[in-house]
């Protein structure tokens, strides 16, 4: 059995040790998040143990904060628009890379994926110089942040879309041409339905990257802070800390849901491609 060969035989003691290791790993990974959620309901102005009592007043305060509301709206706007642009650009790049015999394909792919390894600080400084007084003086603001986020989200969107398009049998498109369809009809009726789940998945991942991103946003945001920038700057003021915890909690939960959603949609797409 091919499947069995991927597993290694482990002794019972080894298994116990591995289970223990995994448990410790999970605790270290999730403890801070769980603590944060816990403290968001704690009736105390400082985030320390022991827990004093249950309250939702921090959520109430956060909801009524104009600053939080504005930063949240700014983040949603930046996130949605940059995710849309990144997904569209990724789709336009992925199709020829997957389908046509593009000259210099390895080089083009590498260049498209470079933002993955460029530190965001470096990218942030570079964009700051470029937008403030450089070749493209559009100034600072949410539009600049959007451009920055498109750059960092693009490789992820591409990495989701490229393998999916490549996995679709080229002959499906040829069959459509053969039956009289134009290139556009073939894309719309054959290819698009088959890759829609991946497109949604790429969009959600790009969106999560954007609403989560603080470095580029703090360089380029200018006057209007995005949600994570507001969160980060708020830490300088101890009296604000307790209102920030619910903000962070909401963000964690949202990111989590989006990531799970993206993965579920991707898997749905896999099944659909197999026609089930």
């Amino acid at each position: 059995m091919a499947r069995d060969s991927t597993f290694v035989v482990i002794s019972p003691n080894g298994k116990r040790l591995l289970t223990l290791f995994f448990a410790i790993f999970l605790i270290i990974l999730y403890l801070p998040t769980v603590l944060l959620i816990l403290f968001s309901f704690n009736d105390s102005t400082v985030a320390t143990f022991p827990l004093v009592g249950f309250t939702t007043k921090w959520y109430g305060l956060a909801i009524h904060s104009e600053e939080i509301r504005l930063s949240l709206l700014a983040s949603l706007r930046v996130g949605l628009i940059s995710a849309f642009i990144a997904t569209l650009l990724a789709l336009m790049a992925a199709y020829p890379l997957a389908r046509r015999n593009v000259r210099g394909r390895p080089l083009i792919s590498a260049m498209l994926l470079v933002p993955l390894v460029v530190p965001t600080v470096v990218l942030g400084v570079a964009l700051l110089i470029l937008f403030q007084k450089g070749a493209i003086p559009i100034g600072l603001g949410l539009e600049s942040v959007m451009i920055g986020h498109v750059i960092i989200a693009l490789p992820f969107a591409l990495l989701i879309l490229l393998p999916r398009i490549a996995s679709i049998d080229k002959r499906l498109e040829e069959a459509a041409y053969d039956l009289g369809a134009t290139g556009l009809q073939t894309f719309r009726i054959i290819l698009l339905p088959l890759i829609t789940p991946s497109i949604i998945s790429a969009f959600l991942i790009s969106f999560v990257f954007s609403i989560d991103e603080v470095v580029i946003a703090s360089f380029l945001a200018g006057d209007q802070a995005t949600y994570p920038v507001y969160l980060y700057s708020g830490l300088k003021f101890p009296e604000k800390t307790q209102t920030l915890i619910p903000v962070a909690t909401v963000m964690i939960v949202l990111s989590f849901l989006f990531a799970i959603g993206a993965e579920m949609i991707r898997r749905y797409g896999d099944r659909r491609l197999q026609g089930r």
Binding site: R171, L179, G180, L273
Partner: protein, 384 residues
Amino acid sequence: MDGHIVLAGVTKAFGENVVVDNIDLTIGDGEFFSMLGPSGCGKTTTLRMIAGFEVPTLGSISLTGEDVTRVPPAKRNVNMVFQAYALFPHMTVQENVEFGLRIKKVKRQEVKARAAEAIQSVQLEGFEERKPAQLSGGQQQRVALARALVNRPAALLLDEPLGALDMKLRKEMQLELKEIQVRTGTTFVYVTHDQEEALTMSDRIAVMNNGIIEQCAGPREIYEHPRTAFVAGFIGTSNLVNLRVDRSAGGCATMDVSTGQRIVARSDAKAGSSVQVTIRPEKIHLRSDGLGDDASSVGGRISDVVYLGSMTQIIVDLATGERLTVHRLNDEAAAADAKVGDTITLHWAAENSFVIAGLPADASGGTDAAPSTSGNDNGREAHE
């Protein structure tokens, strides 16, 4: 509709690599025409040029009298059945079959009627709402056929359509394909590497090798009168013997093997020329009864006897070092009695020896005659 296809001087090169080399071909209306050859022989590329997926580097292709060399696939009145079917996985059988008509904006009522007719003709009633993944390989094959035939193409192009099916189903589908072809009167251009499949279904077969057509003729002609060594070797089992013509008279060439042993062939090959002779294994007899005075007669030693169920395969080593394969049906006592080590005399009628390459004595450099590769529809010089 007149579905005849003419390829004139068609060449296709990918970079330096010439895949199809100056072929001429005329496929008649309503014909079941096969292109047969090993992988890489250019048969699929030729089919894809007829479909419009590849543009010939040189030459022209015309369909029902109209030059379509540069017409895109969507605008050609031919449809293709792809290897592995290429059914649209997200559409039902019904939607797959209707696709071509809907794209062409045929009226809704007519779409329904023609789709129903096509689905019925491939016996898939009741499966309309299934997705391709919910069908067996044979059923998917039928959907692919219906999806193409519903457009009433002038010609249907089939690229190894039965390749993915198991042996039993493949035999059934062969008969069914042939039946559909006869019933609809559509020209079928069929690409396969399976010689038996081609022999079973085709009106004519073009045997291809290295981008050229080795021979283009009916199944019987191809099998019984192979024109080149390649065709003789590719279609069925064949014995190929290198010989020198000793006497030539009245369209009959005689090659002496040793005293009292000779191979006789109907050929105009001149005395002294080197030739290759093919003999089909089932044409070789163990007795000389009724084969005529000018039958071939060769002695040898049995080196192997293989029981093949309905027949026995006997391998005989000749004194010259050549080796002949003989197939005898098992209703003959002689076949059953053959034993390894026995000496045996083989006989066959002069009509069953085929001289496939006769080079004039002065032109042949050595004893090995290079097979000339010019085919029926391809009267060119030998291809190198």
